[in-house]
């Protein structure tokens, strides 16, 4: 062991007698939970009576109410097009390489455009495996792949439904995803 290594001493809080008899601690805990109970009851009541005020719970009733995600959240992928409508992707495989979930599958082919040289024949992303890290977006030298905000509802009945192909990723074929309400987590003042 290196002599320079010193072990930091952590002072653990001592259990005092008043904590050991536990009754005072129980009382403190009860005060906290009862305060929560009463405050929340009051808030529920005030909202129910139409007097407004803060909500009594932090629950999002998801299928009924829209899912609230942050304004800057990055969700479903999108493949971008050139001005002439062809995909920007040059099949450099950087995104496939960097993807930690190994969920991008690209097959390359020769591009008719000599300036482009190479393009993707198939470009599939398995959204069921994607961890939405955004590395693919960072890696792309062509700015060909991006992530949309607020598209988190892309359900499928089978795992296969979650594998999106090029037309869907480019938006040519609609998969009918529902956009959700954007909320700035920093509050309206910060935005």
């Amino acid at each position: 062991m290196n002599a320079k290594h010193t072990v930091a001493k952590v002072r653990r809080p001592e259990v005092r007698f008043q904590e050991q008899i536990y009754l005072i601690e129980v009382w403190k805990g009860l005060v906290i939970t009862t305060r929560h109970l009463l405050v929340n009851l009051y808030r529920h009541l005030s909202v129910a009576l139409g007097r407004g005020g803060p909500a009594g719970s932090v629950t999002t009733q998801y299928p009924d109410d829209p899912q609230v995600t942050a304004k800057r959240s990055r969700t479903r992928h999108r493949l971008l097009k050139r001005e002439d409508g062809t995909p920007r992707c040059v099949a450099c495989m950087l995104c496939e390489t960097v993807c930690p979930a190994k969920c991008i599958y690209i097959q390359a082919e020769e591009s008719p455009d000599v300036m482009v040289e190479k393009r993707a024949k198939t470009f599939k992303i398995d959204l069921g495996m994607c961890v939405f890290c955004g590395y693919c977006v960072e890696a792309c030298p062509e700015d060909a792949i991006r992530m949309d905000t607020q598209f988190i509802a892309f359900p499928g009945m089978t795992r296969k439904d979650l594998i999106w192909d090029m037309p869907e990723l480019m938006g040519d074929v609609k998969k009918d995803p529902k956009p959700v309400k954007a909320v700035d987590p920093l509050g309206p003042a910060a935005s």
Partner: protein, 359 residues
């Protein structure tokens, strides 16, 4: 067993009256237990900033999630009634019945009200008036442990067996403590009759109601603690241990499982009733003599007061259940044997000494 009426009245009146009382008491218990499943969900939800179960609806009418009681009942009754093939079927079936019946029988000994003078005779509002009611209730509460151990043993599963053993160790430990705790207040009241114990607390001292909680505060706290352990609910739910340490009813499903669930709630109600009777003055409302009520009205007020106090204690038990984390098993046994039992004995000694000093 029945407190006999003074005037000659036919036996069937007594029999019918006590049958009605017992049915009402048990009905009250079962209804309250069902209601408690809702209270548990909602109270825990509200105090944790959640909403709680609210999806069950009839024609889109949700009514604060109260229909979950109904949907629970339907679900429990229509679920497959599974008995493990490696277990012992008859005992597996018998276990929840024993547990629940024992808890239900306790209920009928609680003094819901005083006696009423009506139609020239007195009607005792205690379903089963017993001179040794405290012993009856404590004895039946301890019968509940048979159900727990039997369930663990008959399930043919080691996890269930271990859960049953934990339950046995816990409940027997706390029974001893429980007897030592109630000895103090009972020595003070000089009776084993629950109704008389409640009636004793109707006295006041300079306007201060001399309830058990005033005269025996230590016993009150110990009783609630030991009682919570006896009812096997959190923070003492080691026999059951929902997620982490699988419990004695792991092999149960459907209505049999619901019976074990209800047993815990029923035992909580019994505990709340005992607390009300022994420490909170039973049906006595401070200053009720100023209301000028008499006869049936006074008795009705008594029942309402008793039930209200009982609900209050239930609320407190719920709140404690959702406040404290579970004890470790050695902590649990230490608490019972090394702390509660000695304190209860000291309390008994001091009470006996004080009673001799002042009487």
């Amino acid at each position: 067993m029945m407190a006999c009426c003074e005037t000659a009245c036919p036996l069937w009146v007594d029999a019918a009256f006590s049958a009605v009382k017992i049915a009402l008491a048990m009905g009250f218990g079962l209804q309250t237990a069902a209601f408690l499943t809702w209270v548990e969900r909602k109270q825990s939800a509200v105090l944790q900033d959640r909403i709680g179960a609210n999806r069950a609806s009839i024609f889109g009418f949700k009514f604060l999630g109260l229909f979950h009681i109904l949907s629970d009942a339907i679900k429990m009754m229509t679920k497959e009634d599974f008995a493990p093939p490696q277990g012992l079927k008859p005992w597996h079936t018998l276990a929840p019945i024993i547990s629940m019946c024992a808890a239900l029988m306790c209920l009928s000994a609680l003094p819901f009200g005083a006696s009423v003078e009506l139609f020239g005779r007195s009607w005792n509002l205690t379903p089963i008036p017993l001179e040794y009611g405290v012993i009856y209730v404590l004895a039946l509460l301890s019968v509940g442990v048979h159900g727990v151990v039997m369930a663990g043993w008959a399930s043919g599963s080691n996890y269930a067996l271990l859960g049953g053993l934990r339950g046995a160790a816990q409940m027997i430990s706390y029974e001893v403590a429980m007897l030592a705790i109630v000895a103090g207040p009972l020595y003070l009241y000089g009776t084993l009759d629950l109704a008389q114990a409640a009636a004793w607390q109707a006295r006041t001292w300079h306007g201060l109601p001399l309830w058990g909680i005033v005269l025996q505060p230590l016993a009150f706290i110990l009783f609630l603690t030991a009682g919570a352990a006896e009812t096997k609910r959190a923070p003492f739910d080691l026999p059951e241990g929902e997620a982490e340490i699988v419990g004695y009813f792991v092999e149960y499903s459907g209505m049999k499982f619901a019976m074990f669930l209800n047993t815990d709630f029923l035992e909580s109600i019994v505990l709340a009733g005992m607390t009300t009777t022994l420490f909170l003055g039973g049906w006595h409302l401070p200053g009720q003599s100023h209301l000028g009520l008499s006869g049936p009205l006074l008795a009705a007020l008594g029942v309402v007061v008793f039930v209200t106090k009982l609900m209050g204690v239930l609320w407190l038990l719920m709140q404690i259940r959702w406040t404290l984390p579970r004890f470790r098993f050695d902590q649990l046994l230490d608490l019972g044997w090394k702390n509660i039992l000695p304190l209860a004995l000291v309390n008994l000694l001091v009470t006996a000494w004080a009673v001799h000093l002042f009487s």
